[in-house]
């Protein structure tokens, strides 16, 4: 069991965050929203520069930690690119990445990119994406699928886990932005941060975020060890990630006040682009149901098995 990323992975994550900053930081998602077709040219070079496509998260322990750190850094800037999905690409299909799908109308935030996508459902059924629908908010598009096989159960855990790392990076940022806001904004002659009612809301959000942080490492370790519980652990992580995101964004929006819903604040963009990660392939209730199905009466092996 590993509950900390290696120093190398942490350092890689720091460098990635700086590289995204240098490439435009918050501007990346603003520009991509104006022109979704430019996502590859906006983000592709910086990812190539970071050596993202040389990482081998499916077979290399260092690679998976680096991939997780990279996704977290991308989430911090709401980098408008399906990075986690690409890093989780299966090794035995001719695909640039893999998307976990569920529900009757599979969809993913992959609009505007010319890439070959495989999909997998929790049961391991795989398909190739053969067509897209219209571009919807958050770069989401519905997917047309051509069935391939049912041999994808080994693809599922990592493909569920890495997007949660992206979401974790978004929560890091949301809390950072909100701490800055309540420290700066004064009402009643003092910073909002000096009110204990405000502090306690933020501490509740931070508790959620740090719980997710630990679970994300556990699920990453579980996914790379081909453990029998890997899919259940990944679903448990996803459930925790959605719940944490609900709390963190609710608190951050409330404490930002009305301006948090206006696009001149970064929180507004971050919150909007967190939605596809939280709702796709399945939202809170459906994730809970998937987890209940997979874990059954056996339950999770847990951290100390």
């Amino acid at each position: 069991m590993i509950l900390e990323l290696s120093d190398d992975a942490l350092e890689y994550g720091r460098q990635a965050r700086q590289a995204f900053d240098a490439a435009g930081g918050d501007e990346l998602v603003l520009q991509a929203e104006k022109a979704p077709g430019a996502r590859e040219s906006l983000v592709g070079p910086v990812l190539a520069g970071l050596g993202a496509w040389e990482l081998d998260p499916r077979s290399d322990a260092d690679g998976v930690e680096a991939a997780a750190a990279l996704c977290r850094a991308a989430g911090y800037w709401a980098v408008p690119y399906p990075l986690a999905e690409r890093l989780a690409a299966p090794t035995d299909l001719d695909a640039d990445g893999v998307i976990v799908v569920g529900g009757e109308r599979p969809a993913a935030a992959v609009a505007g990119l010319d890439l070959r996508w495989a999909t997998v459902d929790v049961a391991g059924n795989r398909a190739m994406v053969s067509g897209h629908g219209e571009i919807q908010p958050g770069f989401v598009t519905e997917l047309e699928l051509s069935s391939v096989d049912d041999a994808g159960s080994g693809d599922v855990a990592l493909a569920l886990t890495l997007p949660c790392w992206t979401l974790l990076g978004m929560l890091d940022r949301a809390i950072e932005l909100t701490v800055a806001h309540v420290t700066l904004r004064k009402q009643f002659g003092q910073p909002l941060a000096s009110f204990q009612g405000v502090q306690f809301q933020l501490t509740d959000a931070e508790v959620e975020r740090s719980g997710l942080d630990i679970l994300a490492k556990h699920a990453l370790w579980s996914a790379t060890g081909n453990r029998p519980d890997a899919i259940a652990d990944a679903l448990a992580l996803r459930l925790a990630a959605i719940e944490a995101a609900d709390v963190v964004f609710r608190v951050c929006h409330q404490l930002h006040g009305a301006v948090g819903f206006c696009d001149e604040t970064t929180l507004s963009w971050l919150s909007r682009h967190s939605q596809p990660l939280r709702r796709l392939p399945f939202g809170l209730s459906a994730t809970r149901e998937e987890l209940a199905d997979v874990a059954g009466r056996r339950g999770l092996a847990g951290l100390f098995a």
């Binding site: 529900g103 109308r105 969809a107 919807q136 908010p137 958050g138 989401v140 004064k186 009402q187 009643f188 002659g189 003092q190 000096s194 009110f195 204990q196 009612g197 405000v198 609900d246 609710r250 929006h253 409330q254 006040g257 009305a258 819903f261 206006c262 696009d263 507004s268 919150s271 909007r272 939605q275 709702r279 796709l280 939202g283 809170l284 209730s285 809970r288």
Partner: protein, 413 residues
């Protein structure tokens, strides 16, 4: 009449509210009849995604329709609302009948009065409490004719701490010259008049140097800019005020007593308007959710049952507040806080069970409230309740201090 056609109406007539007095039951029948005849059946469809001009036209037409029935301003005194004389300042319609009216409008899914809201509640209440006879004669009939009002209170540095507002009004002879910026002015683009708070004595303690004005929005120097929010909606606006001249006659209440006037009239938002919203949440909102939810799922059914309990509690609380039964000093804050957070949880749950495609349905019927059934928009809109009008944090402080008698939070101010 064909008996088959008569049947639904008769069935509805026999459905009493057991707590109605005979008089209320008669009034309920009258309102039901009116609703069946006057509420446009297809407004949710025809008003979805319409432009601003059509929205304004529809709102004004609906207001006129309600007014002609005596249903637009039932809380106004008869002297101003029109109708049979009442004692003193009593409303033209009894509180018990107002309960019935709002229940039935909600049950029949009537459009909401969005544009008239500030005029018929805040402006009217301000005029009735603090206005001169001349000001009342100028504006109250005009409001009934469709004059639209906006509230110019919040500023960039004065949100929860409204008393720290910085917009200034400098007296020069018979007028005031106003400079500053107002924020989060709902519907300012369509407003004819503005309820404006501005600082008239910069040297006085902050609550004692504020005055309250009626400002004509067509005055030179008034610049309204819509603020686009995260879901593309722009009904909140900024109002920039650049050397705007307001005649001294448009001061309402005494100079430098604006804070007291505002305190006396802000409560207009809290009584019957909350009852109306609670009824709308129960009918237009919750009913629609139940009808579309996968109720065969026991988890969903369980959550819906929980919401039903909470909504029932909310409706009861609202009714107690408007009927003035013995309550606590913080009841209005309790109702606002409870409604806000219930609305947020309910719309969040609706989003959760509506599936991903609900996320891309970003149009809603204009003239609906925060329970339009376009759940993502309703959920985002729910923050208009936990943040403005006294944020949930402020309501909690009021409940702690006035309701429970706890000490005030230590302040460095």
């Amino acid at each position: 009449m064909n008996p088959a056609e008569a049947e639904p109406a008769e069935a509805e007539e026999t459905h009493h509210n057991p707590s109605d007095s005979p008089q209320q039951a008669r009034f309920r029948r009258e309102v039901r009849q009116w609703c069946r005849e006057h509420i446009p059946r297809d407004w949710r469809v025809t008003q979805s995604g319409v432009d601003e001009a059509e929205f304004v036209r529809f709102q004004k037409a609906w207001f006129a329709e309600l007014h002609s029935a005596g249903y637009a301003v039932p809380h106004w005194p008869a002297e101003w609302a029109g109708g049979p004389p009442t004692r003193g300042g009593d409303p033209v319609m009894s509180v018990e009948n107002q309960d019935v009216l709002y229940q039935e409008l909600a049950a029949h899914d009537a459009p909401r009065l969005v544009l008239a809201f500030v005029g018929i509640h805040h402006a009217a209440s301000t005029l009735l409490v603090a206005g001169t006879e001349k000001q009342r004669r100028r504006h109250l009939p005009a409001i009934l004719d469709g004059e639209i009002w906006v509230q110019g209170f919040s500023e960039p540095e004065a949100g929860s701490d409204l008393a720290s507002l910085r917009t200034t009004a400098r007296r020069t002879g018979d007028s005031f010259v106003v400079n500053g910026q107002k924020l989060w002015a709902s519907g300012a683009r369509h407003a004819d008049w503005c309820l404006l708070l501005a600082r008239t004595d910069p040297d006085a303690p902050k609550r004692k140097g504020i005055s309250y004005f009626l400002m004509d929005m067509s005055t030179p120097g008034v610049d309204v800019r819509p603020i686009r929010n995260a879901v593309g909606d722009s009904h909140f606006c900024e109002i920039f005020l650049d050397d705007v001249v307001i005649p001294a006659d448009n001061l309402i209440g005494a100079e430098n007593a604006g804070w007291q006037v505002a305190q006396a009239t802000l409560g207009a938002e809290r009584g019957m308007t909350m009852l109306e919203l609670a009824e709308r949440l129960a009918h237009a909102g919750f009913r629609r959710l139940v009808e579309t939810a996968p109720v065969d799922d026991p988890v969903v059914a369980d959550r819906l049952a929980q919401f039903e309990i909470e909504i029932t509690g909310l409706r009861g609380m609202c009714r107690r507040v408007v009927e003035g039964a013995a309550g606590g000093p913080a009841d209005a804050s309790i109702v606002k806080l409870y409604y806000s957070e219930l609305l947020q949880r309910l719309t969040d749950f609706a989003v959760e069970i509506s599936g991903p495609h609900a996320h891309t349905a970003l149009t809603k019927p204009m003239s609906s409230g925060w329970e339009s059934g376009s759940w993502v928009l309703d959920f985002v809109g729910s923050w208009e309740w936990t943040i403005p009008g006294g944020a949930s944090e402020i309501q909690r402080s009021i409940i702690a201090e006035r309701g429970l008698g706890l000490p005030r939070e230590p302040s460095v101010a």
